[in-house]
Symmetry: C2
Subunit: 347 residues, 2 copies
DNA sequence: TTGACTTGTTTAATCGATTAAACAAAATTA
DNA sequence: TAATTTTGTTTAATCGATTAAACAAGTCAA
């Protein structure tokens, strides 16, 4: 690599001290510096194509203008959409984002946090895995500025921006009930993650509030393993549809479950919504391409990303108050849950 | 934030110099250091929960173990999948990834490169926009280690890892011809981007090699504008299907075009493949959920990410040779291009 | 004329590591 | 015993910025 230009090079060329160069380029001591000198310094900086060495600057100022983003998997559309929003929001404030995927593993997550802290990130945005409570607790104790997104631990007092999962789940089930479905199933995850538990609670409560008995055979919680998920979802659907008491409507608890589920239902050539109504958490492009576009619970990603970043930056600035947000979801109703197409919004 | 522990704290507690602590913690001067002292230093480091300040280390060693990734849009599944692979590959070598989305804008891209270079990234992986040639040229002149992915400029001698777009396109068209389709259309982008041009060239050549006249009315190149893309794609499809000489098969040049196109075709309730066969570049989850799963050109993303990272790290290590790879694509044939009753829509 | 400001700039310490070179004490060789 | 080597550790410069404090020279008021 070619030699880098530093403050000293400019200082020497102009014939002043590096201090003066620094003051000029940072617009400090405005009134005190002779205009002609300041201009000359700026000229030479331009001419030599000077660029600040942020590493040196960060060392001195102990501020890196970097935030660390830890998601389960950056290739998941939920995560990458969020990442994009956070990137834009950070950029507006001159922050850069470094990211890492934890794969829901505490080991990886710990490693990422360590790496990011070693790099002196100013703060963290984390979508924590189910076993990350201790880690989050430790971050809080160390007074590292951070915000949780999407998932959080109700017992630990931290900043978070998440969905009101309970209400979202209720509204989807309520809608299915209103549409006349009675044997409503759900495929969820076998995890203590609070947001997933809330979705379950909403499902059960909404059923019971509608006078429908909660039949626990209709709630299948599959194991949280990316590699086996396709098989697990297939099996779950087969069980739920088995002759005897087949379900007439199904709610998927996550976009990953939905993607596998829809693929299987497509292959089985089940008529949606006539034989089975479908609804899911999370929006993906895929939902539009099913022949009966899928009703879904739309998370306000833009708001989540924007607020998470905003709260983090405020924490970095020294704000020590705790902000906990459960944003409302929007139920987007489409033909996968509505028999009579004339009630659908025009595409 | 709580006071950070530094080398000096350990040195003072043990009663040695910071140099010795540094040697021990970096396993240097192995033979020379008294074992008892080394052990004591390690103990105290552990006890105080010491973590290296990478910023300080980077300043001294001028190595950040960071690579910058610039894609068009991290929320595009192609980009985020690639990002994930690069992340994993980088992680194996103890590198961290910082990322940014250029939105195909040279201005943003330049800003990102500047930001990343100011942060002293060791190298860059870039999916350049159509007007990025000058920027890429400048990076080359500055001897910054970098690798282009997905897109590249044939006239600039740089490292790149991309698809053999020409062959990929040919193989898709050849397949459509073999299946008996004769009026084959393509929706592509109006851009000088070489990879897109190659896809066009493959389309035209493959048609002509099959004895089919290239009818330029069947190739529609829409403008490259994310916001207007949905409308452009709809219009293009309407034109291609207009009574008179409707096409009987259609190739989408990118996943974004495909997503919009499939949505529209779904809404129009066109029978695929009976009335219209469909194939596309790039794989997405969405392709499986169309009632007739879509034939697609599968890019070897894993290989692309892996090789791009490998080549970059070698360049960072000082390797000055140039590697240019056009990887072969795989045509995944499914029911959207194959007439077969069992794939009829289940409506 | 002298002390007190202003203006414009430099000096030098500092951030937290790394590392060549210097140094001291112990061990070995001559 | 003196010279040399080995072992174990410290000193001090350095990376490239920032910034409080010092300094010099000019202006002004009393």
């Amino acid at each position: 690599m070619i030699k880098k230009i530093c403050l000293k090079d400019i200082a020497e060329k102009v014939g002043v001290s590096t201090a003066l160069v620094s003051y000029v380029l940072n617009n400090k001591k405005e009134g005190r510096i002779k205009k002609s000198v300041a201009q000359r310094i700026r000229e030479v900086a331009m001419e030599l194509n000077y660029h600040t060495n942020q590493i040196a600057k960060s060392l001195k100022t102990s501020k890196t203008f970097t935030i660390g983003l830890i998601v389960a998997d950056i290739s998941n559309p939920f995560s990458s959409s969020l990442a994009r929003i956070i990137e834009d929001e950070a950029d507006k404030n001159n922050y850069t984002v470094i990211f890492g995927s934890s794969d829901e593993s505490l080991l990886r997550s710990n490693k990422l946090v360590d790496t990011f802290l070693n790099r002196q990130v100013d703060g963290l945005i984390i979508a924590p895995g189910e076993d990350a409570a201790s880690q989050i607790f430790s971050l809080r104790q160390q007074r590292i500025p951070f915000v949780l997104v999407d998932r959080y631990f109700p017992d630990i007092k931290t900043n978070y921006v998440a969905l009101d999962n309970y209400k979202a789940s209720c509204s989807a089930i309520q809608h299915l009930v209103n549409c006349g479905f009675k044997r409503i199933g759900m495929i969820s995850l076998n995890t203590p993650l609070f947001n997933i538990q809330e979705r379950k609670r909403g499902y059960i409560d909404a059923l019971q509030n509608s006078g429908i008995n909660f039949d626990k055979r209709r709630l299948i919680e599959i194991d949280y393993d990316n590699d086996k998920m396709e098989t697990s979802v297939k099996n779950a659907i087969n069980i739920l549809l088995a002759p005897g008491h087949p379900i007439d409507a199904l709610l998927f608890a996550t976009n990953a479950i939905a993607t596998h589920g829809l693929r299987h239902i497509n292959a089985l050539q089940i008529k949606v919504p006539e034989s089975l109504a479908l609804a899911t958490f999370d929006k993906t492009d895929a939902l539009d391409l099913f022949y009966a576009p899928i009703t879904y619970i739309n998370q306000p990603l833009q708001e989540m990303g924007r607020l998470a970043t905003k709260i983090l930056l405020e924490a970095i600035e020294g704000n020590t108050s705790i902000t906990q947000l459960n944003l409302p979801a929007e139920l987007v109703i489409r033909s996968s849950t509505v028999m009579d197409k004339k009630y659908l919004p025009a595409i």
